[in-house]
């Protein structure tokens, strides 16, 4: 019983190699889902294509169910699974900036790398822009530091903050996802754009 790969018992190099392989898999899945097309990504915002919603929520549900069942069967130790730390202020501000960047640039950071890998020039510019942004943020970090670390809530899980069982939250997420998929498909019909090609 335990983590599938005990991170603290393998060398840094093997660790990076595993990360590299997972990264390739992730990139491949993104590309296969059509996420290297900014038409598809922007479709989520305008409502004519909800592939993004479907792919990410399906991935989340599959991973969530996998963890829930593996935990029940004693195959994973959830206490050492990394839960992203929650800084409320920077999560909200970062979310807004990321959303704006997403719709202006047509990519999110991960998909821009995917698209650049298949030779899309706009994606390369996007990556350059992200790097400049990172540089500016890094250089002016002392200005933002207070805001960045504000309202730190630790590795908080939604189920813990609501005080319900993980499994029940899982069911709620699944129901919410199916409702969103259904509404999304209605939106796809309503905001249909014949002028936008389905091609990558």
């Amino acid at each position: 019983m335990g983590p599938i790969i005990p991170l603290f018992e393998i060398s840094e190099e093997i660790n990076l190699l595993i990360a590299f392989l997972i990264g390739i898999g992730f990139g491949f899945a993104l590309e296969q889902a059509g996420f290297s097309s900014s038409r598809k990504l922007a479709g989520m915002f305008y409502g004519y294509d909800i592939t993004v919603l479907k792919v990410f929520f399906t991935a989340a549900i599959v991973a969530m169910l996998g963890l829930l069942f593996m935990n029940y069967m004693g195959m994973i130790d959830m206490s050492i699974v990394y839960v992203n730390e929650y800084y409320m202020a920077s999560a909200i501000i970062g979310g807004v900036i990321m959303g704006a960047g997403f719709i202006i640039g047509g990519f999110c950071p991960g998909t821009s790398v995917c698209a650049a890998a298949i030779g899309k020039i706009d994606a390369m510019y996007f990556i350059g822009g992200s790097l400049i942004g990172i540089l500016i943020f890094g250089q002016t970090y002392p200005l933002w530091e207070k805001l960045y670390n504000a309202q730190y809530l630790g590795s908080l899980k939604l189920s813990d903050s609501l005080g319900i069982k993980d499994g029940i939250l899982g069911l709620l997420v699944i129901v919410a996802a199916i409702l969103m998929f259904w509404l999304g498909e209605l939106a796809e019909k309503r905001f249909k754009r014949e002028d936008i090609s389905k091609e990558i």
Binding site: F26, Y72, V83, G170
Partner: protein, 205 residues
């Protein structure tokens, strides 16, 4: 449309099962009582005084002696190279890099073996590795290394060899130049701390 319906149904039913299942807490690090019992019975955690004496004479860097007695007792007498972690301070943050690490073999000792056994069980149960017990503690150290008993002539060659090795060790620990008090070499190096398990950075797309 039909495929969508079936998929939704499968997902919801899986979610229902997950919601009904009781919440369980697994721990891959901490040992349960049965596992601890097995560990105790295997006796892999005991290090004999002869083995320890040999390691000290050869300046073996693999071992780190840890004195669990009080500070005053430690100052009166301690084994060379040992550090003092009073038993009640075992889990103080100050000592965490020593008792929770993967670099060296910690050898707990006290006068007898009560404190060292308790410390070993506590650390083992919390999943710390590389902790051992000096078999018999300082009492046995005294009767085997400092004042070894002359084997009866009826004992075999092995016992005689052991005795001779112990006489040599005695000379090393009590004889010329060897100092056994706290002022002796106690510059124990801080071992490499075990990597924190939660340091994996998360990232989104």
């Amino acid at each position: 449309m039909k495929a969508r319906f079936i998929l939704s149904l499968i997902l919801v039913s899986l979610g229902l099962v997950a919601a009904i299942l009781p919440q369980k807490k697994n721990s891959s690090i901490e040992l349960d009582a049965q596992q601890l019992l097995n560990e105790i019975q295997q006796e892999n955690h005991l290090i004999s005084t002869d083995e320890m004496a040999n390691a000290l004479i050869n300046n073996d860097p693999e071992y780190q002696l840890i004195d669990l007695r009080s500070e005053t007792e430690y100052k009166q007498y301690s084994l060379p190279g040992s550090i003092n972690i009073p038993f009640e301070k075992l889990f103080d943050a100050e000592w965490a890099p020593y008792i929770d690490q993967i670099a060296r073999k910690n050898v707990f000792y006290s006068n007898g073996t009560t404190l060292s056994s308790e410390a070993w069980m506590l650390t083992k149960q919390r999943g710390f590795k590389n902790n051992y017990i000096l078999q018999g503690g300082l009492n046995e150290w005294y009767t085997t290394i400092i004042e070894p008993e002359v084997p009866a002539s009826i004992n075999g060659e092995e016992a005689i060899n052991d005795y001779e090795a112990r006489l040599g060790a005695k000379q090393f620990f009590t004889g010329a130049g060897a100092v056994n008090n706290a002022s002796a070499n106690t510059d124990a190096k801080k071992p490499v701390a075990r990597k924190k398990k939660k340091m994996v950075a998360g990232g989104c797309s």
